[in-house]
Every structure is written in C-alpha cells, then in structure tokens.
C-alpha cells in the first residue's frame, strides 16, 4: 500500500455540528485519540466542548465493561457549551465499549465498531450472551464494521513491527478514519505523532493513522465525508483549554497581578493533581510548588507561606477539603489570605474519583468548627476557571481571608476554545503590606496592632516577617480586636465573631450583581452554579426556541450571595435549582430568602443533559 494520503474525491456534506464518542479499553488510548481529534478541530476553528469519561482504575481488567474509557467531543460551527447529550457517532473499539456506551448513541446514529474485537472471548468478557453484531440488537443504528486490528497490523507489518505491538496503534487507525469522515486536516496530527513518538512506534502510529484515513476514503463503507465549518465566533486568538489548565494559569496570573510569588502546597488527588503538575512547570514565574506529606500539611504550608507574604494556595478534591478543614478554620481566625481549590468529584469518601459531582457546597459553606464563614467562588466552564482563580485570589488578598474555589471533575478535564485575554486588561489585585506602626498610645509611643481593621473592608493589616518594628504574634486563640492580644472576654469574642462574619458578608458589595439571562418576564427561572452552566445554557436555548419563556441566573459567588438575588428570585413564580447534588444551593436560597425554590438533582457522576433540564422546565410549567 502507498504511504501517501489520497485526498477525498467525494464532496463532503456540510453539517453544523457533530458529537463523536470514542470508546475503548483503558489501554486503547481513547483519551489520546479524543484529545487529538479535539485539537485538530480547535485548530480548524470549530467551537467545541469535550467530556473525558474514564474509570478510576489505572488498568481495570482488559476487555471488561469496568475498564471502558471514553472521550466525547462536540464540534460545531456555532457557539456551544456542552459536549452534547447523545453522540451522533460512536466508535467502539471492543465489545465492552459497545456494551458500556451504546445506550448513549442517538437513534439511527453512526456506530463504527472494531469487528476484530467481537470474538467469543471478547463477548464473554463484556457479558454478552450473543454477538450484538449478528443478533439484530443494533438494528436502530447505522453499523459500520471495520476490522481495525487486522488492518492496523497489516499497515505496520512492512515496517517490521510485530503484530502484537502493531495492534497498539489501532487507535490511530480509528482517528485516521474519523478524521477522513469529518474532513479534518491531517497535517497537524502527523506533525504531532512525529514529535511525540520515536522510532518504530512513531512509524507504526503514522502508518495506522494514514491507513485509517485512506480506508475511509477508499472502502466506500461511508457514502461521503462530512464537514463542520469553522465557527463564527468573535474574532481573536484562541486556544483550547481544560479547566485544570485554566485554573493553574489563573493562579499564575493571580501571582503576577498581585505581584506576589505563588506558593502551592498540594497532595496528589484525582481530579486535582493536574493543577499541581501544571504549576510545577512554571517556576520561572516565581511559582513554588511543594508536594506535601499529606493534605493537612499542604494546607499548612500554604498558610505558612501566606503568613510570610506569598499568595498561598492549596489544591485538592472533596476528601482533602475535609482534612484541610482545621487549617482553614485557623486561616479564618488568623485572617490571612489563602486560596483552597476544590475540584469536586463524586462522594462521600473515595466515592467516584474520576466522575463529576458538585456536592461539596455544604462542606465549603459549613465544613469548619466554630463560626467560620468564608467566601466561596465557583467556576462555571473550563475557560472560566482562569477568571475564577483570579477572583478567588482577589477576594482572599483584599479581605485577608481564606477563599474556597469550587470546580469539578467535568470542568477540570473538559475543554473548550478560549479567546486568549490581553494580560493588560486583567485586574490589578495587589494589596499593600503594612510597613509602619498603626497605633499611637496615650503616652505618644507607637505600636503595631495586627487586628486594627480597615473600616471599609474590615480587613486587618498584613505585616510580613522581615518588616522592622512590626513584629507580632498571631494564633488560633481568640484575639482582642485591634491590639490582637489573647482575649477570653465574652464581649470581645462576641465582637470578633460578628466582625469576622460582617467582613465576609460585606464582600457582597464587591461582587457582580446577579442578572437574569433569557426571559426576565418568564414564569420560571433556573438558578445554577458551577458546571451546570453548559447544560442549563443549552436547555434554556432549546426551551426558548420551542416558544416557552424561561429565565436563568448563574451564580459565580456562592458566599456571600449577590445582594439582589433574593428580589430577583421572588420576581418569578417558579424557581428551579439544578445541581449535581441533592439540593444544597436550593436549601441555602430557601433559608436565605424564603423562596419556594425546587431542586432538580442528579447524582450519577455525570453532568446534566440539556434534555433532562428542558423536561424539568416543562414539568414545572404544566
């Protein structure tokens, strides 16, 4: 066979969008395949949204349903926010992948299967009692059977690659085939393979990719290719970004914008570890990262660094938030800036470490001992994690308080195109350190009072070690307001509890007002937070296109809440609160505003589909 790539002779059919899901065994490289398809589509100019979906086990038993790893990508010629409810195309690399994901494929959707992986043994491992390729159970789909393993081995054989090794390149065969089917440019993928792999592996992957592309072209299993034109989004320079990368870059930016070195104390935990990895690469920004001995130490180190004048950050997921609770309470008491990032996952306990959930709002709000309120910021999309990180740091620094920044597994690993901001347009979040004594005694002598507050923000001064004359001690014991000495007096404790609460409540004046998107005069409003943004956006669009009015408020700040939120909610007859938990925000707004908000909940480790939310809207309006 030739190693050049034939250009398609058949004209591609133009379509506005497509959702493709690559599914295979954990060892089949499906995340890589999906990622490449995404990158090429991004470079091509499509709008896109991705949803990696993989098991917690590094290698579950091969060929079993538990070991299936999938990557869903939605590419479009217009603005989209979700990775799509149902794929239009499912690529199933083995019987288990078919079993795990076939129910997601739309009716009459295109199903491309690796027919080599449907031997008796494969079917048995996937718990099939009969072969779905022959028993008629797939009659609702357009099935294309391709012996991908055999074809990949044949492509690699002339290079001297053993069949067993060649088999590993079959994901590139699938990528080549789907690249042809959706008229993706092939050069970027070829260049990527050449840069990423070496020697025989590189040659085998290139051969498999080209063979897959040519197979699509020549086999006539597909009538014609499709083409999703570039999207008409606003002009500018774009990059494709995941939530965790955006969050890490946002922290780097926060360091630059505050003119403080970033200090990350972190302990590896899924799905937050990538932030540690990413920040560890950027020491040339003055970023210090320390992989601590445990979650508690990670928080302690960040708090110590904050005391010493750095932007202290700790990153984790749910179980780690619990372990950091005591340190966070100390930070509330010390009134030091400190950002705790929680990439939420399914819980409680280890729960569903690789699946998404947003059930840590309660622990963020209430998960400390004593009266220990703190601000909570929530990111709503992968790219928004960048801005959310800067906002969390801004509040922490300005108000000398720990801030919890909530993201989740869906945002962390999902990606979308991001119009790169001009750094010059980003806010200045720097705050001055105290440099002089701030209190004059009656006898004319001067002192430094560590708890003498700014009357506007109620923040205390931040004097860092190394500053002559401002030596002072802070601690977890209750302090006398102003002077900061230990104080056990009843009146002072009351005053300090109220001051700390008032300081956090006062941040409401310093955050954007809530605004209604969609129809402000609708009967129903959706109140969302976090990653439900994508599904709510799609559901609101669909509902409005169908002629039903619906409003939508999306919160980026969960504590304090925007001051106008109560009035806004009361202006609607129905308030629906979609959440990937059992109704945590819903209970907060009911308690806070006495509105009859209704929860719409989902706890499957999966994001909402827009159809589910559309149905919830229709149901309440019945």
């Amino acid at each position: 066979m030739t190693d050049t790539v034939e250009r398609s002779s058949r004209q591609p059919e133009q379509i506005s969008h497509v959702v493709v899901r690559f599914a295979g065994d954990s060892g089949d490289g499906m995340q890589l395949t999906g990622d490449r398809f995404t990158s090429v589509s991004a470079l091509f100019g499509n709008d896109l949204s991705t949803f990696p979906d993989y098991p917690a086990e590094i290698r579950a038993p091969a060929g079993t349903v538990n070991g299936v790893s999938s990557f869903q990508v939605h590419i479009s010629d217009h603005d989209i926010t979700t990775p799509g409810d149902s794929p239009n195309v499912l690529v199933a690399m083995n019987a288990a992948a078919l079993k795990a994901d076939i129910h997601r494929l739309e009716q009459n959707g295109l199903l491309i299967v690796n027919s080599d992986a449907f031997e008796a043994r494969d079917l048995e491992k996937a718990d099939y009692t009969s072969n779905p390729l022959t028993d008629g159970s797939l009659s609702n789909y357009r099935v294309v059977e391709v012996p991908m393993t055999t074809l990949t081995q044949a492509a690699a054989e002339p290079l001297g690659v053993k069949p067993r090794d060649a088999e590993r390149s079959k994901n590139f065969f699938a990528l080549g085939m789907v690249s042809w089917l959706y008229s993706r440019p092939i050069e970027p993928t070829i260049a990527w393979i050449e840069g990423r792999f070496k020697d025989l592996v590189k040659e085998a992957n290139l051969a498999a990719f080209k063979a897959g592309y040519n197979f699509g072209e020549t086999s006539e299993l597909f009538d014609h290719p499709y083409m999703v034109p570039p999207s008409d989004t606003s002009p500018g320079e774009y990059t494709n970004i995941t939530g965790n990368t955006a969050l890490a870059w946002g922290l780097v930016a926060a360091g630059q914008l505050s003119k403080l070195p970033v200090f990350l104390g972190s302990y590896p935990i899924t799905p937050a570890s990538d932030i540690l990895h990413e920040l560890s690469k950027h020491k040339n920004f003055g970023v210090r990262t320390l992989q601590a001995e445990d979650e508690i130490a990670a928080a302690g180190m960040a708090l110590g660094a904050a005391f010493a004048g750095h932007l202290g950050v700790t990153t984790t997921s749910g179980p780690g938030v619990a372990l950091k609770s005591e340190t966070t309470s100390l930070a509330v008491s010390l009134e030091l800036p400190f950002v705790l990032v929680d990439i939420q996952r399914g819980g409680p306990s280890t729960g569903l470490p690789t699946k998404t959930e947003a059930a840590d709002l309660n622990i963020a709000m209430y998960g400390r001992h004593g009266e220990a309120p703190l601000p909570i910021v929530a990111a709503y999309s992968p790219a928004n994690c960048f801005d959310a990180a800067i906002e969390a740091a801004r509040i922490a620094l300005k108000y000398r308080t720990p801030v919890i920044l909530l993201s989740d597994g869906y945002l962390a690993n999902g990606s979308e195109p991001w119009k790169i901001p001009d750094p010059a347009t980003l806010p200045d979040i720097s705050v001055p350190f105290a440099t002089a004594k701030n209190h004059v005694n009656e006898d004319g002598t001067e002192e430094y009072w560590p708890y003498l507050r700014d009357p506007e923000t109620l923040a205390r001064p931040w004097a860092i070690p190394g500053t002559p004359g401002l030596m002072h001690r802070v601690g977890g014991i209750e302090k006398e307001d102003g002077r900061g000495d230990i104080s056990y007096t009843p009146a002072n404790h009351t005053k300090m509890v109220h001051l700390r609460a008032d300081k956090i409540a006062g941040i409401a004046k310093d955050i954007p007002e809530a605004k209604v998107m969609g129809d402000a005069d609708a009967d129903v409003v959706l109140l969302g937070w976090g990653s439900t943004w994508a599904a709510i956006d799609a559901a609101v669009q669909r509902t409005r296109r169908a002629g039903t009015k619906v409003g939508w408020i999306h919160l980026t700040h969960l504590n304090p809440l925007p001051p106008n939120l109560g009035d806004l909610l009361r202006s609607f007859r129905h308030v629906l609160v979609p959440e990937l938990n059992m109704g945590q925000l819903c209970r907060i707004v009911r308690a806070e505003f006495l509105v009859d908000a209704k929860p719409v909940t989902k706890v499957q480790g999966l994001p909402f589909s827009s159809a589910e939310l559309e149905a919830a809207i229709q149901e309440v309006l019945k």
Binding site: S39, A42, L43, G45, P230, T233, S234, P235, E237, Y238, T239, W249, V252, A253, Q256, P261, F263, G265, H282, K283, N284, F285, R288, L290, A292, E293, D294, I296, A297, G300, M301, A302, G304, A305, A306, F307, A308, G309, H310, G312, E326, T327, L334, I420, P421, D422, P423, L426, P465, G466, P468, L470, M471, H472, R473, V474, G475, G476, D485, I486
Partner: protein
C-alpha cells in the same frame, strides 16, 4: 579574643510585652530564659525571626518572644513552618513543640520536615505528659505510667524522640535539659547555626502533672553519674572522675564500661559529623529509662543541602533557562488559532 562582637540587640529586645502564663515552677521558664538570652548572640534581627508553635503548654512560647510568631494547630507547626521557610529562606525559623504535639498528633509533619531538611530549628519540650489537657500519658510516657487516661498503667510503648528523628534522616540531632541554661544555649546555638533541619529534645519538667520525671538523670545529685556529655572528637567519658566510658562491644552493642578496666584507647570517640547515623542511633538508645546514664549534647551534625535553598535554586534555574515568565506567552503555549 581580639574581635569584640557587639550584639545588635539585647535580651530585652527579644522579650514581648506579654505576661508569661506557665505554671510557677515550670521548666518552660528556663528554656525561655535560655532562648531570650541567646538570641542577641546569634547576630540576627527580631524582625527576621519567626517562632511557630503547635498546641500544648510549650506552644505558648511564641507569644513571649518579640519576633514574628504563630501559635498554630496541634501538631502542624513543622508543616506551617515549612511554608514560611520555603517561601522565605531569608528568615530564621524556629519551631516550638512538645512530646504530644510533635510525636503524636504531628508525627507525620515532624518526620517529613526532618527528611526534607527544611531550614528549621525545632525545639521539642519533652515532659512525657500532656500538661495542657491536665495529665494524660504522652507518646514518650514510660510503660506502666498511671495517668488519668491510664488508671491501670500505660501499655503503650514509648517513642525515643532522638531515635525517631535519626530514623527520619535528621541532619542535626541533640539533647539538652531545662536545668542547665548554659548547656541549652550551647546546643541551641549549634542547632541555629546548622543549615537545614535541627532537632533538639529538651528534657523539661512538668512540676504539676509529671514532676521530677527526669530527676534520676538531671537532678543535682545524679547528674555527675547519669549525664554523659557528648563532645565531638573526644572519647565518651562521664562520672565525677570521668571514670566511666562508652565502648562498643564486639557484638556491636554500646556498653558503659570502667575506663581503667577498658582502657581509654578503647572508648568510643564521639563523631557527630559521621555520615552514617548508626552510632548516633546507638547513643540515642543507650539509655532505656530515666535511671541510667544518658547522653546529652549533639548526637549528629552533618551537612545536607537544605530544602528552601534547593527550591530557591530551582526557581532561579527556571528563570535563567526560560527567562522571566510572560503571561502572554504562557496563555499561548498550548497552540492557538486566529479567527477574523
């Protein structure tokens, strides 16, 4: 001595205006005196000095020092101090902790701060009891000890703090006691001057809940017989007439011997700078109770790069290699495309 060093500060410059609130007669007073008296000699400024403590009686210490300080969380002082020291290698960072704080609730942080060799001077006040919570047994309490939480006697086998520190790869390990200010000051000075993590166990008397715990060793009438002063480069001898010595037997076991019988040349010569921690470990375990000869002084003092300096070096290397960070370049580092 021809050069007279005039200290930049005096003892009073290191004393805060806070009233010291330990029980009258507590060993902590002596330690505070030793530290405050020593500080002017160290050539550092109060504003560049940070004391971080955990929770417990000893952990009130920072309040009494006119430096930067934090009275933090039970057991977490080594972690918090690591953040301070790594963020700011220019600072002089001390950790004040106790036997419960460092070896029970904070054991993990202590061993990791030691193995990382973070530039900290860690003073562990060991009184073998929980004082602040009014008298429960601690991880250094002896077996059989009757306390409020062990009415039938403790069945917990205790830690040997120095052996724990040596096992955790500590580069500086020493022991002193609260009754000898001069000895404390010498040990603290050496611990301070050591670049990296320094671990000092201080036998400290809790006269309320565990009075005279160390009397059998450090008490006036026992010192001469029971305290073994470790001097680097010298044979290990002790006793009123230096008549006792420490020798290594052919089985590798350290033994207390009569110097005349054994011969001075056969005594173990103390070597604190020895790379291998084996001898320091053996010395740390020479005494198994508070009624037998116990070594004091510097057990181990070896050089190993300290953590904060290495972090700073990596930050500098990254800056030299990649140039100062540019946000604009960072945001474009994963490939971009342009529309319009």
């Amino acid at each position: 001595m021809s050069d007279v060093i005039v200290p930049l500060t005096q003892k009073k410059d290191w004393m805060s205006d806070q009233e010291v609130r330990w029980c009258p007669g507590c060993g902590d007073y002596g330690i505070l005196q030793a530290v405050q008296t020593l500080m002017p000699d160290l050539g550092v400024a109060p504003e560049n000095t940070v004391f971080i403590s955990g929770i417990g009686c000893s952990s009130r210490f920072p309040y009494y020092m006119n430096t930067y300080g934090m009275h933090s969380i039970h057991g977490r002082a080594p972690a918090i101090a690591t953040g301070v020291a790594v963020a700011r290698p220019d600072l002089d960072v001390w950790v004040i902790t106790g036997d419960g704080d460092a070896l029970s609730i904070g054991g993990n942080h202590l061993i990791h701060a030691l193995r990382r060799n973070v530039n900290l001077t860690i003073l562990l006040f060991n009184n073998r009891i929980y004082g602040l919570t009014k008298g429960q047994y601690s991880p250094t309490s002896e077996e059989g000890k009757v306390t409020k939480s062990t009415p039938m006697g403790s069945i917990d086998h205790p830690f040997n703090p120095l052996a724990v520190a040596l096992g955790a790869e500590a580069s500086f390990v020493a022991r002193t006691h609260d009754l000898d200010r001069k000895h404390m000051m010498n040990v603290f000075r050496a611990a301070h001057d050591h670049q990296g993590a320094s671990f000092v166990e201080i036998y400290q008397n809790c006269n309320v809940f565990n009075d005279a715990a160390f009397d059998g060793v450090t008490g006036k009438h026992h010192r001469a017989e029971m305290m073994i002063d470790l001097v680097h480069g010298e044979p290990i001898r002790f006793g009123p007439e230096k008549e006792h010595g420490v020798m290594m037997g052919s089985d590798g076991q350290l033994r207390i011997v009569d110097v005349i019988e054994a011969g001075v040349d056969n005594l173990l010569v103390h070597d604190a700078h020895r790379e291998d921690p084996g001898l320091a470990f053996a010395l740390a375990r020479l005494s198994h109770d508070d009624h037998s000869p116990t070594p004091f002084g510097i057990f181990r003092d070896v050089h190993r790069p300290d953590y904060g300096s290495q972090v700073a070096a990596q930050v500098m290397q990254a800056g030299e290699k990649k140039g100062p960070g540019s946000l604009g370049d960072l945001l474009r580092s994963n490939g971009t495309w342009t529309i319009g």
